[in-house]
């Protein structure tokens, strides 16, 4: 949560992955108008970072960019966001459907054949193995019925040769 006003920029990073609510209200503190921000989390530890640019500083070439400074400090904690790879900005084909190496190769061929400008082929969770144990998807290996080792190698070679990329969807659980 980041705030910016005429004099400074401020930020609070609430480190909690649980179900969280954030309440924002008008407020005045020591006669200064501003905002009250209340975080409430369902569980977890109380862990947070606060940042501030203090007051703006006049430099020879103008005012220091207070917002940039706070964002920069924040990134030293959360990591600097990488630029996205070019292909992620292109068109993606994504469908929640049964999938196999053969089907990917067929789509890949057809998109080239019909000159569809697709850059990414997305496989939904059925790419993963739930045949060995139908209780859930195992995300660390391809489902062996639809993706044999031979087909995987062919699929990878064909998709790579077409200049496209593949991506696989994961749901947030782990099964081994």
């Amino acid at each position: 949560m980041q705030g910016i006003d005429e004099l400074s920029s401020q930020a609070v990073t609430w480190v909690n992955s649980a179900h969280t609510w954030c309440f924002l209200d008008d407020a005045t503190y020591n006669q200064q108008p501003g905002s009250n921000i209340n975080f409430v989390s369902e569980t977890g530890a109380l862990e947070l970072f606060i940042f501030s640019s203090a007051v703006k500083t006049q430099t020879s070439d103008g005012f220091l960019n207070r917002n940039k400074r706070v964002t920069n400090d924040l990134s030293t904690v959360t990591g600097f966001a990488p630029l996205p790879p070019m292909h992620t900005l292109g068109f993606h084909f994504s469908k929640y459907d049964w999938v196999s190496a053969e089907r990917i190769m067929e789509r890949n061929f057809n998109f080239t054949d019909f000159q569809f400008p697709v850059d990414v082929l997305v496989m939904d969770i059925q790419w993963a193995d739930n045949y060995t144990d139908p209780a859930g998807y195992e995300y660390f290996r391809f489902n062996p019925q639809n993706f044999t080792d031979t087909d995987l190698a062919k699929m990878n070679a064909q998709v790579q040769a077409s200049g496209r990329y593949m991506t696989t969807i994961l749901d947030p659980h782990i099964k081994v």
């Binding site: 921000i37 975080f39 989390s41």
Partner: protein, 107 residues
């Protein structure tokens, strides 16, 4: 120049920690729950392995322009939630709809 508060932690005394608030069973039963309940606590006795421990804390910023809380289809500058439901950080398994304060699918 007058002194100026840049960021105040816990200005309204809303620091809460509650290990007896609610069990997941109660939560799943559809009991409504608000920030006010959070302060008052709940009558329920915690279960040995299933305690939901709530935490909360407030801040004051001398800004009315706030942003952050990403991965939602809403305006960049965040709205006041005084008259509405609060912003929620939760990945809903629901279709993408425009102008929603809730988190996006997969966020």
């Amino acid at each position: 120049m007058a002194t100026r508060d840049t960021l105040v932690v816990n200005p309204q005394d809303t620091l809460y920690f509650d290990s007896t608030m609610q069990t997941p069973q109660m939560y799943n039963a559809g009991n409504s729950w608000t920030s006010t309940d959070f302060a008052s606590g709940s009558e329920a006795a915690p279960l040995a392995n299933d305690v939901v421990q709530g935490i909360g804390l407030g801040f004051f910023m001398p800004s009315t322009t706030l942003f952050g809380l990403g991965e939602r289809e809403d305006t960049l500058v965040l709205k006041r939630t005084t008259q509405t439901d609060p912003y929620e950080l939760w990945a809903y398994d629901s279709p993408h709809m425009p102008n929603q304060m809730a988190g996006l699918y997969g966020s």
